[in-house]
Amino acid sequence: MSTARTAGLAPVAPSPAQPRPTRRERAGKLDAAVSPYLYVAPFFLLFALIGLFPLLYTAFVSVHQWHTIGGEGAFVGLKNFADVLHQRFFWVGLRNTVSIFLLSSVPQVITAIFVAAILNANLRTKTFWRMGVLFPYVIAPVAISLIFGRMSAQEYGLVNYVLGNVGIAPVGWHSEPFAAHVAIASMINFRWTGYSALIFLAAMQAIPTELYEAAIVDGASRWRQFWSVTVPQLRPTIILIIIVSTIGGLQVFDEPLLYDQEGYGGNDRQWMTVTMYIYELGWGNQHNFGRAAAAAWLLFLVVVVLALANFAITRRIASADSGPRRKRVP
């Protein structure tokens, strides 16, 4: 009986009049006890092989000398970590990654909230507009990178040409680190802003009408309603999107890799990200899996630290919003 209660369904109550469970009932009980494990087993077995094991093994590789083709060597303790931390390109990569991340997350959240606010109006052909903002999502990041890379070519590129027509000097979209970060962040924003906007839209539609009614009774303008009702109510969604984009954004690889033909992140690595650096350590000239694994763990630590920091910051910003209006972040 106890098996039936802890495992399986609400027991298909055998009537007390029956003295002994029939064979079929016993089979049913066994079924209820064992089947749930069988159902979750495929996921966990595969996950153990392709998820959990590699994760733990990364730690093992990171404290060994390990050549990409030659394989495992001597135990070296934290030497790989020290080596990575002493390489200039690791820090360059970290700077680039954080910069691209900031340029893609903050403007994206702000734009997405505004787009969502517009989509939340009582529009005609709602679905059409919603599909319209989602469109870039079906273009692969590698394809977006090729398109944007061409648009922001320094000579004969569309962006510099248009800027030239309004009297702005050509920008070094590839040569200048910051300009390159802006270009790469734009690719990420292009693909994900509409997606984020739809998530915000769903959250906006769930805000209780009474809150707006109360605001209107208090004489709040629409703008004021937006800042004092909508934005604070979106708090959990803002936190969600920031955390997800922290984890994803810090691993950015496809867009910067295809931003030029060589794929090293520029002559002076001005747009090389940490993941590109891990790739270079492991599969590039160094052929050093030990260092690559160490760099992967360091990146993981950065992700955890920044995710927690973002969580704390977003919580503060979003809860402070009900007070006097804050300055908007540009």
């Binding site: 094991f53 903002v133 692969a140 769930a206 690889f253 030029d260 899996f289």
Partner: protein, 302 residues
């Protein structure tokens, strides 16, 4: 490969459900917006559509035209098919890449949906020891950056002799923690426990109950999961780039080879971009509505 903090995710779902019940935004906002709103929306739409159209414009032009027109005219030049032919003759195995991408994405979609629904059924409707702990493991894995495990995964694939073979891309794509979480959430809300009890009283085995009761109920959520998964694997680059051979590519890695070999030939590269994107454009036309609904119901990027 999806990362979602759970609580907020739950908030999102509940939010989406409540949203479904409500119509407009209530008092004073239910009226139709003015022309200004549509002008802004049209601008947003143009930003969203132009880059791909721009690449089509380049794909239908030739080198001298591109060199002379940094801002291409809005009418295509008419050389698109010629550029497509040049891509097919460039030595990039385009058809093979197309077949590989289709195969990987389709197998992954079917497998993820099946295993996720199976596990979701157990997690949402069955009682067993250790359920809570296992579910926590599922959720925790969603937050792990996938790049972290890439080196050992490569070592494992090399040992198995799978490097360069499609199976090395397929196997890691067979299950998804997000999928399990998504189906658990859905079945928890959509599948009445009484229905399962009824099937059990009628003497159906659990497997039978899963097949005839849970699976049909799960269909809408399963379709969305399949869609997002398909797109995710169609566009994914990092792992195939590491493990596959340029002679046996998927579409994104074929595109990378195309760019690396013909960087200066923009019309050729852009023709490749359009060719890799067309299948998903068709999918978007057919299933765009479901994608919008899926995102608004809580599917989260990953």
């Amino acid at each position: 490969m999806t990362s979602v903090p759970v609580t907020a995710q739950l908030a999102g779902k509940a939010a989406a459900r409540r949203a479904g019940r409500r119509g407009g935004r209530g008092l004073g906002v239910a009226r139709r917006p003015g022309a200004r709103t549509y002008v802004v929306l049209t601008l947003v739409l143009l930003v969203s559509l132009y880059p791909l159209y721009y690449s089509f414009l380049l794909a239908s032009a030739d080198a001298p035209y591109i060199a002379q027109h940094p801002l291409p005219g809005l009418i295509p030049q008419g050389r698109f098919l010629e550029n497509v032919r040049r891509v097919l003759e460039s030595g990039i195995p385009f058809w093979k890449a197309l077949a590989n991408s289709t195969f990987v994405s389709a197998v992954s979609a079917v497998s993820v949906v099946f295993f996720a629904t199976l596990a979701g059924f157990a997690f949402s409707k069955l009682r067993f020891r250790g359920k809570r702990g296992l579910l926590v493991v599922v959720v925790a894995t969603m937050a792990l950056p996938s790049q972290l495990g890439v080196i050992p995964l490569f070592i494992v694939m090399a040992r198995l002799g799978w490097s360069g073979h499609l199976i090395a891309v397929i196997v890691p794509a067979l299950v998804s923690a997000f999928g399990v979480f998504w189906m658990t959430q859905y079945l928890d809300a959509a599948l009445p426990s009484e229905l399962i009890d009824a099937a059990r009283v009628d003497g159906a085995s659990l497997a039978r109950t899963f097949w005839s009761v849970a699976l049909p109920t799960a269909r809408p959520a399963a379709a969305m999961l399949a869609l997002f998964n398909f797109i995710g694997h169609w566009t994914s680059f990092f792992w195939p780039f590491i493990i596959l051979d340029p002679r046996n590519p998927v579409l994104p890695t074929a595109l990378q080879t195309l760019q690396a070999s013909y960087f200066k030939d923009y019309s050729l590269v852009m023709a490749g971009v359009i060719m890799t994107t067309i299948p998903l454009l068709l999918l978007f036309v057919v299933a765009g509505k479901q994608l919008v609904a899926g995102i608004m119901a809580g599917a989260v990027k990953g």
